[in-house]
Amino acid sequence: MKSLLLLAGLGVCFQPQDSTLEKIEREVSAIVEKARKSSVTITASYTVEFEPRVQVTESMTLSGLVYTADGYIITDGSALENAKEIVVALPDGKKLQAQLIAVDRRTSIAVLKVKAEGLTPAILADPKEVKQGIYAIVVGNQLGMKASSSIGFVSGLGRTIQVGGRRYEDMVQMTTPVTLGDCGACVVNSRGQCVAMVNSGYNAQAADIESLGILKLFGKDTSDFTSSGPNTTSFATPGSTIKFVVDRIIKHGKMVRGWAGLAVKSIDDGVRAQLKIKDGQGVEVTSVDRTGPAAKAGLKRRDIILTWDGAAVTDPKMLKKMVIELEAAKTVKIMYLRGGAPFEVELEVKIEP
């Protein structure tokens, strides 16, 4: 009996152990499997009229994710604004007509609604856990192939990019390869939680060639390459922005955010020293929308905003948050410096048109 127990014990001891790579493989596979349950395929159709009698129907395929169990789906809205018909293919393959609730142009987030119950929503990660270096696993529709996945890391946060002539702030930068069809795909971390949603890809090689003008000499456009070539860096909308925008759209039926009509940045060290402003205090106005509330209040470029509605302004993102989180117009008192002299003014923050 003792011999048998000894043998069994030895068997347990000498059982081959999984290598670290095998463990990682298993973990990644489980994460992808989990994320696939919330991943959807979105097909948008458009009528393209070349001439009065020549009409063709074009379609585009992108990715999306389930936001609520009762049928709210989110995706990137840059391709959906003029869509004639939107169809969502659920993870089980069922296809449903979707209603476009709204597209937020500032973030390009679109909220769709399908008639469905019991869907598996993506779980948004705690914004504090979204850091440089964490895994960024994309589950999308690469080249139209359903629920494809790719893996990389979050390589930067708080990036600002221009896509289709529009400016997108506070984006997540990733090393994860993304390609056509991945737009709107869920980016998950090592816990399988959604940290971001794919927005766009950047092809550094094409950008380099473009800067040398080589492509144009050969009559090529860089987009000939970037549309199908590999994107060396990808960008995604962070989960915190997704939650803010989508919750607002679901609540109001459209995006509602405060608007001051200005752009600000951190104060340069030289300016700070010259005006004797303490570290971590104030932001510099870089531009003012001529039709916006800030212009109406008399703010100008190079003004230094010190306080906003009684609170000390420490950085641009903090001030932006204070403004955009408003759901109704509000008059606030602002203290600012112009040419070193302090001023105070009232500004009516409006709801962005």
Partner: protein, 185 residues
């Protein structure tokens, strides 16, 4: 500009032949208009395919005589300016492309034509005729130019290198990386 005016210019825009004000108008219009973007993508793809077909050099004198007429026919109401003269190198390049397209396209169709078809009937090939079903039949229905008299209809399905992904999968491209410290609100 409305969609119709934009689409009249798209063929020129993909070749970088538009005037500065036209280019600005098109680039401002495209992000907000999916239909025009689809049309733009068609032209761009067509151009990419055609640039692969170009071969040889244009006959002497052909460049100067053809391109101004091409542009005049595409945009009949446009006044001629000194810009065309100033952009002579561009005109030469464009004319080479146009002639190359014609030669390459004809060669491609000759090799594709069914046995027994009479030579010189490319323009009458039913698969190249415009119509809503052309695309469904897999031959495409893209239009190059607007009555330029050289090539009216070209198939988008033929001559493509490599497989095409199903359903036009979508991912926009980043145009610029901007200063991340600045916030607009």
């Amino acid at each position: 500009m409305n969609c119709e005016e934009i689409r009249d210019l798209l063929a020129l825009h993909v070749g970088g032949e538009t005037h500065e004000n036209e280019r600005i108008a098109i680039e401002a219009h495209l992000p907000g208009c999916m239909a025009c973007r689809c049309a733009f993508d068609e032209y761009r793809e067509l151009r990419a395919q055609m640039s692969e077909m170009k071969d040889g050099t244009a006959p002497n004198g052909a460049i100067e005589s053809i391109w101004p007429r091409v542009r005049a026919e595409i945009l009949p109401g446009e006044k001629k300016t000194g810009r065309i003269v100033a952009m002579e190198w561009l005109v030469r390049a464009a004319a080479v492309v146009v002639i190359g397209i014609a030669l390459g396209y004809s060669a491609m169709q000759v090799t594709k034509r069914a046995p027994g078809a009479a030579p010189g009937t490319v323009a009458n090939d039913p698969s190249l005729m415009p119509g809503p079903n052309a695309r469904e039949a897999g031959s495409g229905g893209g239009r190059w130019g607007n009555g330029a008299g050289m090539i009216n209809q070209v198939p988008l399905g033929g001559g493509r290198r490599g497989p095409k992904a199903p359903g036009n999968p979508y991912l926009p491209r980043v145009e610029k990386i901007l200063d991340g410290d600045e916030s607009e609100f």
